[in-house]
């Protein structure tokens, strides 16, 4: 699947949930399921700190494709991170750098994109792209 196909899939998954709490339940479940960062990788370089939540993201390049893993100390920030990571993993650095991430806004989480929001979602997106940039300059 392309990055956009994956985004569209998430959007349709959320479309059926008209209640806010159902949407959050979905995010929370994804957050609970995503515990993919090993303790040894929980170092400051991999940490994206919102004012109240911590998200660790690690990335590796396998056969020219980036594989991300994310984990958070909170389920909501963790769920959002898990979605970002799922959407972008398995693609080339260039595809990731070119990607326009529209799903967050479309599933109604726009408020989380505000720079003052406590979970540091914008920082998370920036960090994820920075990994791709580092890989692309190596390639």
């Amino acid at each position: 699947m392309t990055i956009n196909e994956k985004q569209d899939e998430i959007i349709s998954e959320f479309e059926f949930l008209d209640d806010w709490l159902d949407k959050y339940q979905q995010i929370i479940d994804k957050g609970m399921a995503s515990k993919g960062v090993e303790p040894k990788d929980k170092v400051p370089e991999n940490l994206i700190e919102g004012c109240q939540s911590k998200v660790w993201v690690v990335a590796e390049l396998i056969d020219g494709k980036v594989n991300y893993r994310a984990e958070s100390n909170t389920d909501i920030a963790g769920g959002i991170a898990a979605m970002l990571v799922d959407v972008l993993s398995g693609h080339t650095p260039q595809e990731i750098l070119d990607a326009e991430l529209y799903f967050v806004e479309r599933i109604g989480l726009k408020e989380h994109l505000s720079p003052t929001r406590a979970n540091g979602m914008l920082a998370m997106m920036k960090q994820i792209k920075l990994f791709a940039l580092a890989f692309s300059s190596k390639a």
Binding site: W20, L21, Y24, Q25, I28, M32, C51, Q52, S53, N73, T74, D75, I76, A77, A118, N119
Partner: protein, 405 residues
């Protein structure tokens, strides 16, 4: 008894909805909502009395000056200070503490000691650390026990011949603990040590009488007592305010200025450099009149009922952890449910229309003492109701299920 329908009608924001749900505002320790009369006072100030104070011969300037000074008298009466020149208007608690740290700090030398407590808000820690960096003073800390009560038996050991000040909160914003401040002051005075009381969380909720407490400095913020942001109060005993040097220099605070020498204005103007918030001061006075009309004792009793009711209801959750279980508590509850991160719980409560605060509440040493990153804090005001607590409890129940706890 409180007429809650009338009271709630006085606070238009309480009928707002968020995400289509009625707002339940339980973040009163951070800031309180404003009654209509306070906002009207601001409007009236700008529309009818707006002129710079203290310097004008013209009608409006005199009106504005009188209103500002009458507000000072209102504040004096509210906390029962001896005279109005002991009331200095500041931007808030934080500025008032910084003023004392700076000006009182001028009297100190390297090695002098200041005693704080482990439950201070950052604004009663950091100004003293800045002073430590400038002057080399030593900071000592009164610890608290598991319930979040100060271990006052340690105070006597912490006091030495070098102790110059004790700076202590009246009510802890992260725990709700009401400290036995009168007893602390009595003990300090037995050693001739002055005491600064951070009253940010006490003045809005319990009766404060600075004369009875015998406080040397007492500070609070207007916005936590139904007044606007940007106005606050430093009360200082006249002898102390005379003794310590000015904080900031500028207009209003001078007597005579030449390039060789400047003499300073009398109290309280010596500490009010620049144009003060003369609209904010009148709005603060209006808020105090509003509180007086209901009666601070009535408010305290009602908020205590809310505290007891909410604590009882929350206690039904098997995996609740209260942070702060002092015998004497003001109307706020810091808690955690199971392993749910406070940010997660706060986010779900928000979606249900409930405003609580999550995080460290500007009291990181308290969080460190309890070994937590943060808490969820529900804090009440007299316009809150038991029905709102029921909505809150149902929301916590719902969140608990969502996080499978």
């Amino acid at each position: 008894m409180l007429d809650l329908n009338q009271i709630r009608a006085d606070f238009p924001i309480l009928s707002e909805t968020v995400y289509g749900k009625p707002l339940v505002y339980f973040d009163n320790a951070a800031t309180t909502q404003k009654p209509r009369c306070v906002v009207q006072k601001i409007e009236e100030g700008y529309y009818k009395r707006n002129a710079n104070i203290h310097r004008g011969v013209h009608f409006l300037s005199q009106e504005a000056t009188e209103a500002h000074e009458a507000s000072r008298e209102e504040v004096r009466a509210f906390i029962n200070a001896k005279c109005a020149n002991e009331i200095v208007f500041t931007r808030g608690t934080t500025e008032a503490i910084n003023l004392v740290a700076s000006s009182f700090g001028e009297l100190l030398q390297a090695g002098d000691e200041i005693i704080l407590t482990q439950m201070e808000h950052h604004s009663n820690i950091v100004p003293w650390q800045l002073l430590r960096a400038r002057r080399g003073v030593v900071l000592k800390v009164i610890p608290f026990n598991k319930k979040g009560e100060l271990k006052l038996d340690e105070l006597e050991n912490l006091i030495s011949s070098k102790t110059k000040l004790i700076a202590c909160t009246h009510v802890a914003n992260s725990l709700g603990t009401i400290n036995p401040i009168k007893e602390i002051i009595r003990q300090a005075h037995a050693h001739s040590i002055p005491v600064l009381v951070d009253g940010a969380q006490s003045v809005p909720h319990i009766k404060v009488d600075v004369l009875d407490l015998d406080a040397d400095f007492f500070v609070f913020s207007g916005h936590k007592i139904y007044a606007p942001t940007g106005i606050g109060v430093l009360y200082g005993k006249e002898e102390w305010l005379e003794k310590i040097p000015p904080y900031q220099g500028g207009g209003e605070m001078i007597d005579k200025v030449t390039f060789d020498q400047t003499t300073f204005a009398a109290l309280p103007f010596k500490f009010e450099a620049g144009t003060p918030d003369f609209i904010g001061s009148t709005a603060l006075a209006e808020a105090l009149r509003y509180v007086n009309a209901i009666g601070i004792e009535t408010i305290a009793a009602y908020e205590h009922d809310l505290l007891v009711y909410a604590t009882e209801q929350l206690s039904r959750f098997d995996n609740i952890r209260f942070i702060g279980e002092a015998n004497h508590k003001s109307g706020l509850i810091s808690f955690l449910i199971g392993t749910i991160h406070p940010y997660d719980l706060g986010t779900v409560l928000d979606k249900l229309g409930i405003a609580v605060r999550t995080g460290h509440h500007c009291a990181q040493p308290v969080m460190q003492a309890f070994g937590v990153e943060g808490t969820v804090r529900a804090s009440f005001a007299f316009y809150n109701t038991k029905e709102e607590i029921d909505i809150f409890i149902a929301a916590v129940e719902r969140a608990k299920k969502m996080f499978k706890q």
